[in-house]
């Protein structure tokens, strides 16, 4: 569950990140956040994972109150979140398997759980056969699938994706979006910031439109925009 109540984010340089946003995303929902570059999509996601703190208003993610949360609790918030970025952010000197296992190691998971869950996550994204390969030997789509496996291996209740298909060709983008949909079918709340008009239009999910920091539209089973 994610809830924003009258949230405003102003950056120190005077930029408006988000203005008076109020919404609620229930558990198990799939939400697209769309809007032009610099409109505030990333700010929204950064507030959810507490990379940024709201200037005004209240943000709730799972059982955490982001707006008045001590720094030392941030790791525990993030252990309940899976995060995927446009540029994959894999560790080049670790294999696919190690990259995914790494996410479990640093939350001090049991070795036997690691051995059990990493293959499951890799199978889900269809990379079981490439477990021993290094990231630079993979295509962009495959790298993003490794990042997805890493994001879900700790069974987070929320998956946040910031332009996950931004560096991928349309076909591969669909693969990633379908994977996100599949992860969502398994009960994970998924929030995706994206520019992919055609995908958003076809997937018929809940859509937030952001313009200049304001959520101007919030529709269920929506299109990328109102125009058509």
């Amino acid at each position: 569950m994610i809830e924003f109540r009258n949230v405003t984010k102003l950056y120190p340089n005077g930029c408006i990140g988000l203005q008076n946003a109020t919404f609620k995303i229930e558990k198990g929902e799939f939400v697209f956040i769309v809007g032009p570059s610099g409109s505030g999509k990333s700010t929204l996601l950064k507030l959810m994972l507490r990379e940024e703190v709201p200037t005004e208003g209240e943000v709730y993610v799972n059982e955490f109150s982001i707006h008045d949360m001590p720094r030392r609790e941030v790791p525990y918030l993030r252990r309940g979140l899976g995060i995927v970025f446009q540029d994959f952010r894999l560790l080049p000197n670790k294999t696919v398997y190690e990259n995914v296992a790494f996410a479990m190691q640093i939350v001090e998971a049991q070795p036997k759980d690691i051995r059990r869950q990493v293959p499951v996550a890799l199978a889900l994204v269809g990379l079981s056969k490439k477990a021993k390969v290094y990231p630079n030997q993979l295509s962009g789509g495959e790298q993003q699938r490794v990042a997805l496996a890493r994001a879900i291996v700790n069974n987070p209740s929320v998956l946040l994706a910031d332009e996950p298909t931004g560096n991928l060709d349309p076909e591969t983008s669909w693969e990633i979006m379908n994977l996100l949909d599949e992860i969502n079918q398994r009960g994970t709340t998924v929030v995706v910031a994206t520019h992919e008009k055609s995908i958003v239009d076809q997937m018929k999910k809940r859509v937030f439109n952001i313009e200049r920091g304001i959520i101007v539209r919030d529709v269920q089973e929506g299109n990328y925009s109102n125009e058509d």
Partner: protein, 300 residues
């Protein structure tokens, strides 16, 4: 923290140290340089205070009685000295003994003593105290007694020596602090390179939910390894240099017949403490340097 995690961190610390071997070596030599200079001051202080204390222990207080002191007064003074808890031992010297001593000294120039009889001399007590620090108080009390002419105690010169020692102490503290600050910042810069090389990894760790300490520990261990390596090397160097100095000084003081006056502390007496001090300073320098250099990258 779980044992498995600790293993992981120690392993990472060692891997990092090796990965930046050249920079690690640069940091180690920095630690060595500062510890060697520190060691110089440390050994100076140790030897100064060692010799000062030896000197103090050799100091004796001589209580001279008036030449015409009565037997009763002399006995009461002796009783007072005898029963004083601060006194370790004392030797009584009568007028006659003092005269005999003088005769011994001026055996060849006996004419100097012409016309001098034991009656002109003062009986005296030579006193050794258990604790030299009581000297001033003891001297003052005794000199007030009836029949005491003078109490000789070279505590003015001791005081001066102590002042010199205090100045050396303070001076080396200042030098040491400066050295520590410089070394810590150099080590911090070295480890900053490791941290910079691994900033993506740190960022990912932060996003996946690693705690700050989980990220910090491997770097702290890296710093401690560097510090310890530096401490060990400088301890070996210090021991070697000090041993050569010790044998040189001891042979020369023997030659000049002042081996009783000046004596270097034997290394064996202090090597344990020196090693521990070096190790602590080195490892603290290393880990503080690490903490400083990682700090900036943790704010994701």
């Amino acid at each position: 923290m779980k044992i498995r995690t600790m293993k992981y961190m120690v392993k990472e610390g060692f891997i990092n140290t090796q990965r930046n071997l050249l920079m690690s070596l640069a940091s180690v030599s920095m630690v060595i340089a500062s510890l060697l200079i520190f060691g110089l001051f440390l050994m100076l202080i140790i030897n100064f205070s060692y010799n000062l204390n030896r000197l103090k222990a050799q100091m004796e207080i001589v209580v001279f009685l008036e030449p015409d002191v009565t037997q009763l007064e002399a006995d009461s003074i002796e009783l007072k000295i005898k029963n004083d808890e601060r006194v370790l031992a004392y030797v009584k010297k009568t007028k006659e003994q003092a005269y005999a001593e003088l005769l011994q000294i001026y055996l060849e120039d006996a004419e100097i003593l012409e016309g001098l009889s034991p009656d002109f001399l003062s009986p005296s007590f030579t006193v050794h105290l258990k604790n030299v620090d009581d000297s001033a108080a003891f001297t003052e009390e005794i000199s007030k007694l009836q029949g005491v002419e003078d109490v000789s105690y070279p505590y003015e010169s001791l005081k001066k020596l102590s002042t010199v020692l205090n100045w050396i102490n303070a001076g080396s503290m200042v030098v040491l602090t400066l050295l520590l600050v410089i070394s810590v910042s150099i080590i911090a810069n070295t480890i900053k390179l490791t941290v910079y090389a691994r900033r993506r990894e740190i960022e990912i760790m932060k996003y996946v939910g690693a705690s700050d300490w989980f990220i910090r520990w491997p770097f702290i261990i890296e710093g401690a390894i560097i510090g310890f390596a530096g401490a060990l090397t400088s301890f070996i160097l210090t021991s070697y240099l000090y041993n050569s100095l010790e044998s040189y000084v001891n042979s020369h003081t023997l030659e000049y017949g002042i081996s009783d006056l000046i004596k270097l502390v034997p290394l064996g007496n202090v090597s344990g403490q020196i090693f521990i001090i070096y190790a602590i300073i080195g490892m603290v320098m290393g880990s503080v340097g690490s903490v400083i250099s990682v700090r900036k990258h943790l704010n994701v």
